[in-house]
């Protein structure tokens, strides 16, 4: 079993300076390990810190203490201590993140939004767009929409463009934040299939997923989280 991602004593709090320095403790000594080909779903009530953990794993939030080890290029990199350029390199090649909402770039057509990662990796434009096209079709985004910037798409369509963008690069580690929240049953089934295929490829996956059916279909195990308990 190859561990692809693990945390040791990961803690995270937020200090709100505009609220008189109010301190919000969210993560307290989280230990998590995810192996290649495994999907771990974070579970727990709202406010348990699932999204905070996910964003910390991606290096989007900065950990206060603890380590986040990611297997990158055969070595372990600590995201919690890495400099910005190293984090960008890890994200580029190893660590993919599908957020709940697509951040649209003005004027860029859906097809290029999806193909972008491959293009930045040096894949030829034709091959990259062909791969993007087929992934969008798999996610039931019809060809007539491919040339249109997704700003005007529905929530479900944007989420599917975002999924295509997240899956196209086949990162060895994938973080999925509510990947099916805005999707109908047919498209949920497509996403379940994509996650299964990724696991078969050996992708390590961490997901947040409130939909019980999807969770049961993709999770190898649950990682239970509960709201931070202040020491009495």
């Amino acid at each position: 079993m190859t561990v692809m991602l693990s945390t040791r004593g990961l803690s995270k709090s937020f200090v709100l300076h505009l609220r008189d320095g109010l301190r919000m403790n969210v993560l307290d000594g989280v230990d998590l390990a995810v192996a290649a080909g495994e999907c771990v779903v974070l579970s727990g009530p709202s406010g348990a810190g699932k999204s905070t953990l996910m964003r910390s794993l991606y290096g989007n939030y900065r950990a206060d203490s603890g380590a986040i080890w990611v297997r990158h290029d055969g070595a372990m990199v600590d995201i919690a201590a890495a400099d910005p350029r190293s984090i960008l390199a890890v994200r580029h090649k190893t660590l993919g993140y599908v957020s709940q909402f697509l951040r649209v770039v003005p004027r860029v057509p859906a097809l290029d939004v999806v193909a972008e990662v491959l293009l930045t990796r040096g894949v030829g434009p034709d091959a990259a767009r062909e791969r993007a096209r087929s992934l969008l079709m798999t996610l039931n985004i019809p060809a007539r929409l491919h040339a249109i910037p997704p700003a005007t798409f529905s929530g479900g369509e944007q989420q599917r463009v975002n999924l295509a963008r997240g899956f196209i690069a086949e990162h060895p580690i994938l973080l999925l934040d509510e990947p099916t929240a805005s999707l109908d049953a047919d498209n949920r089934a497509v996403v379940i299939e994509m996650v299964r295929a990724a696991k078969t490829r050996g992708t390590a996956i961490v997901a947040i997923c409130h939909d019980a059916d999807v969770r049961d279909a993709i999770a190898d195990r649950l990682f239970a989280m509960s709201p931070y308990q202040d020491a009495a």
């Binding site: 937020f14 300076h17 989007n60 939030y61 900065r62 910005p84 770039v105």
Partner: protein
Amino acid sequence: MNDPTLLSGRGLGLRFGGITALAEVDVDLWPGEILAIVGESGSGKTTLLNVLSGRIVPDSGVVWYRDPAGQLHDVHVMPAPALRTLHRSDWGFVHQDPRQNLRMSVSAGGNVGERLMAQGARHYGDIRSAALDWLAQVEIDADRIDDLPRTFSGGMLQRLQIARTLVTHPRLVFMDEPTGGLDVSVQARLLDLIRSLVTRLGIAVVLVTHDIAVARLLAHRIAVMQRGRIVETGLTDQVLDDPRHPYTQLLVSSVLSA
């Protein structure tokens, strides 16, 4: 090369009379990297840009530039003609007001071709076809090539300035509020253009902006300035999504989202 750093400012300090314009500022830039400098008016962003590009000499500190041969140059000690050559070739400067850079009495094509000629290009046909190519890249119709810039809209002028700057394939471009003062729709087009050109050509950029959305869209790293100091720096999305310094928290929370 062990240290690929393209541009490095160390311990930069500058005072204008009793006002601290810069204090203890350290900046590093790698090839192909886009660094945004954000902060409110008067925070020292533009002063820093001018110091990094050799246009203002700081009271203390040093700015190094590594040329394509790997040679390091102290930007503030190098002879003026050498600095001018750098500004005409390896470097580019995009001003908020394109009129500062463009020659308003010279045609659009002439404005683009002039920088090539300054680099020694002499063949008229080559210069004109390079100008045409760059006008197309910044989405200016070929039939406007002989028109004077004063007949252009603000957004077109800014795009012309970008063509004039990038035609010599600089390795490093300084940008001062490149989308400031433009309509939102024009801004979006310009941002997309800057983003795709800079990525495709692998140009390093120091970008000064007060607009956090612009920084998020374009920059790999961000430095937040307040009263002449860098109060917070890091990966763009980290600093904007998980701001730590009180001033950064204020800056991020003050943005209206559409």
